[in-house]
Symmetry: D3
Subunit: 249 residues, 6 copies
């Protein structure tokens, strides 16, 4: 069930049978010449809805703005400072804990979020760690799972795109959005075919290194058909990972 489309009484009932929740988290940032600016938010949102079709979960609204400072050289990219994103994740988790949620699974679509969101989890845990009396509480447990990191998706990306996958504006993520948003498919030429690679620093440096926004990828290979296969693989990966998380002692 989608949290946004539920009533509070429905959530009350859900909490009697489960303490888990899935929170899609992404980013709003350039994804090269044919990739959508929303790619990193739309992908985990799409996968989370696929999870919802298969298992009994609550899906929170997508946190669409992430840590994307390095993309600010390209129009339309929006970022939170890491310190802001930490505060957002902390407030969201503390709200959920208030209701009795104990397992917060952040389904992530953006590599640039990983460090900051994990730092946020530590900031949350630190509150109870500093407290000598906190020892006997069940407490909350958070996990960041990347939709693109499961073994099924990894294998399929390799099979579909091999060395053209790259690390930003990948044909896999672009395919997934083409599957989910077929009306938004763009046909754009890009050269070189495979984009350059390099380190990620600040926005001006990024734009100098990666003039059209891609890193190491050829997203002109993206197709909605590939996206559909990736979608199913990602849902299976995410369901498996979420179940493991929920079941862990």
């Amino acid at each position: 069930m989608l949290l946004q489309l539920s009533t509070w009484q429905e959530i009350d009932v859900y909490l009697e049978r489960s303490r888990g929740i899935v929170i899609p988290i992404g980013s709003t940032e350039q994804h090269g010449p044919n990739g959508l600016i929303g790619t990193d938010a739309l992908c985990p949102e799409t996968v989370a809805r696929g999870m919802d079709d298969k298992i009994d979960i609550v899906v929170a609204p997508t946190l669409s703005i992430g840590m994307a400072q390095h993309h600010l050289g390209f129009s339309g990219s929006i970022t939170l400072r890491p310190s802001t994103l930490i505060a957002v994740v902390r407030d969201v988790v503390q709200s959920l804990v208030r209701h009795g949620f104990e397992r917060c699974y952040f389904l992530n679509g953006h590599g640039g979020n990983v460090a900051t969101v994990n730092a946020a989890f530590s900031e949350i845990y630190a509150d109870s760690s500093f407290n000598r009396q906190a020892g006997n509480e069940p407490g909350v447990r958070c996990r960041l799972g990347n939709w693109y990191d499961g073994h099924r998706v990894r294998a399929l990306s390799r099979e579909l795109f091999g060395g053209a996958e790259g690390s930003h504006a990948t044909p896999s993520e672009v395919s997934l959005t083409f599957y989910a948003y077929p009306d938004a498919i763009k046909n754009t030429r890009m050269s070189p075919r495979i984009a350059p690679t390099g380190p990620i620093l600040d926005a001006a440096d990024y734009r100098r290194r990666f003039p059209d926004g891609r890193i190491g990828s050829d997203p002109s290979l993206a197709t909605p058909e590939a996206g559909e296969r990736l979608f199913h693989a990602a849902v299976e990966d995410a369901v498996e990972d979420y179940r493991r998380f929920l079941g862990a002692r």
Copy 2:
């Protein structure tokens, strides 16, 4: 155009013809027995998409989590602290300014956001106000417009629901979500017919005063048909207000 479904080059082109952007902002909080938890985010998102069908704008992804501390006594409600929301709005606006946007129109769906978002605007302006050299820059201008506050919507709500409109979980906003999300329509009994009214303080106090979450309203009157009429009125109101904002010297 939706920012999430655009490429950075498309935004580059847009910026040559306009410096305005619409950012839906809402909340994720209980809305009584038949209102959706996402009501306050879904309404401005729906209206913003209606605006997009009529005029040439960019619509940013919806900021779905707002300031809803008083609803934390009801399962599923999520809040940002005011200080966190100020940081979020500041980072979003500063990102947009980086690209050349100069008019940031926040289309709001939640009364509880108004004070904090306006404080955030002042926090943003203060940065340039403290700067003696800032005098000659064009600068950014922000505006918070409530979708439910235009004269067309006000008149229609009055006509449709009169004294049963209330101030939280109103039949107007519930109708709008029923129109936009017909599959999520809930048929729930509630009593008393019209909910009590009173001041809004913290979460425990709120739950004591308003046991099922509504304030002063009878949302059992909500219908998708009313929602459709309200939708069209809201789009017209918002387009008018946005154009005035964009055109203001």
Copy 3:
């Protein structure tokens, strides 16, 4: 009684008969050619002392610096950033709660404070709202009342100054300070007679729009006699509003 002129034992005794306190809050900012920079702090301070002559209250020291970023283009204006003002209001309220105060009535003199102070109240309430165990505590209740917003003052301003009242450096507030500080009356010419109106953005923009600082007003109409009448109306309005606040369940 004035908190500053009391001893702690006197406050102890007061707390046995009342849990309310009045905190004047204002701003230090330009008020046009003949308005005092302290206007927005001096007015609520004066009115609060008038309340103290009539009813049994404690009046805290005036918070004289408020949110006035837009006035920084005029010499002598001092502002707190919204985030700073939120911290100040939070610390003040938490101090008072420590002693058992439960109703904090901020008597305000500056429209620019309203959003930020209300955001501060939510920041304070959020502390208990995030706490699952907080449900049975009486808690604190805050209210921001504007001295210029009561029905007696509104009616009198309209009667005295009509369309020349405007919204900043108004003849009403200037009159009140002329009554309270007759030695500080300034006779200054200003033109145009009625100042322009427009939106409030950052400091440089404000100075361009409103070259002598006024918005929509003709404070050359201010007199100490009008100030005296406004004073009495404001005290009555404030006493009424404070009593309602204190008596509310």
Copy 4:
């Protein structure tokens, strides 16, 4: 001239002949059985007005709430956290710098403010210190002067009260408020005659050590006549210190 009783044009004119300003800063905290809660704010405010009668200065509104966490065990005491007070001082100084003020003299009435306000000055200076390009700017200079620390006041306190002066709720500061606020003179018995001494830690510890709030003092010796002499000594001390500060290269 008092900033609050001036217009912005008057401050403009003043800035042509001086770049200095005096900001009284105090605290709102218990001062024993006969000392006023406002003592630490009223004293520097009174002395600053005495300075204003003698030399050409601008006196800012008094910052009446300081760092008084250790007094929270006594009703009526209000504190800012050190981090909040640092933000307040920073915002006030940055506002003044915006107008061209270059020497900010904080006339202080509370020992508990000293560490935090000096930390705030370093926070302000750090902004330009981190800036490689800042080398050629004149910059701002801040100084904290304690009204009770000049050689005239020190000598007079010793002469008047000797070993009964103590360090909190001293007969000197109580005398000064009795002189300035004769209607607020309290006649209260206290025992022991001279209060105990000891370290200052948190509020609960403070109340245990110093049950009536005094530290090492016998403020029953306070008289308005002593206050008058102390007032004149303090004004002379402060004028001397301010002039030295203004004239320093």
Copy 5:
């Protein structure tokens, strides 16, 4: 050269031939029954001094307190909150940038620091990314290198300890401290031989899962001889990684 044992003129001269600096960063936290609380700080400090014997670098003082909230259940462990550590790293880097350093290499000894320190780098980069005018500056570049992550160390750990290496209080890190601090070698029995594994959450949970502090390791295998070999491997790994970092375009 060690920064602490140099004069500012020596650093001036160094900056003419290099813009790089090595900053050891660790943690102060329990390391099981025979591991030193300082292990994670002492290891990178030792390796950095080994680097200094081989190549021309400046080594900053070790940041000994890191992000160790999960160890607070064991006496002597000290942590910074992630938000504090971000501020520390930001201030350190901004100080170094002030002098012209452009490559800040953090040699890390604690896995728990990785997320937060990388978030700090993004916080630093964001400052210039938000700035439209920042495009032409060389800027600063930061890198976090873990002393235990180079290929030589990884291979040697595997060779020496195989499956007994584990992930906290490993025989490798304990060996390195035994080599560097032979007087501090502890002979402690521990059981089970190999500690359990599991997720890392807050302090109370950690202590329940890992009663003596170790995770998956048998540090009773640690020897100073192994430590010496690991030391040389780590220095070679770190020198290689640092040179690559310094030479990268």
Copy 6:
């Protein structure tokens, strides 16, 4: 015992016999032509280890980066903003309190830290002061002792260097580092023999006033022999002060 060279079980045992800890705190900043950049951290670290040889204490790792914004004009100087240093001290003390430490003795080597660290103590105490229920807890007590401020060291410095001691880059502190780090002794000419004196403001101003970094001192008089005598005096002073602190009721 040094915390870094101990195990958590050793600290557990120590806590049964003492609740005190010594935390050396210094700075990393220029110390003139022959003074080491680490002087202010190395001195208290050296003295703390001397204490450890004489009495039963735990010595925490040295906090080597302090508040040194005014030295940023000289290469190699590193500072924390006051607000950052407050957060660091707070987190360190809260960590120690978690384990049962109740007396935190910060042995300081840098005058520039004094205000900020004392502000940090108040920030820590404020947490319990705001809490009405905190009254019966033993609580934590913090003290900042400067190694150079005891009566033995003061007398010896006067005897050894008289008017050439000055206030920054003093022959006393340079001597102590020469004694502790004989390999780092520098022979540098400097003129004038005794450096100028003046106020401390921001970094650019500091460099203009004190071109080689010294204030009022002639550190060319420093010798390791003097350093040895100062070391023994400082250890005695610090032991005495620590014992008084530990024993205070």
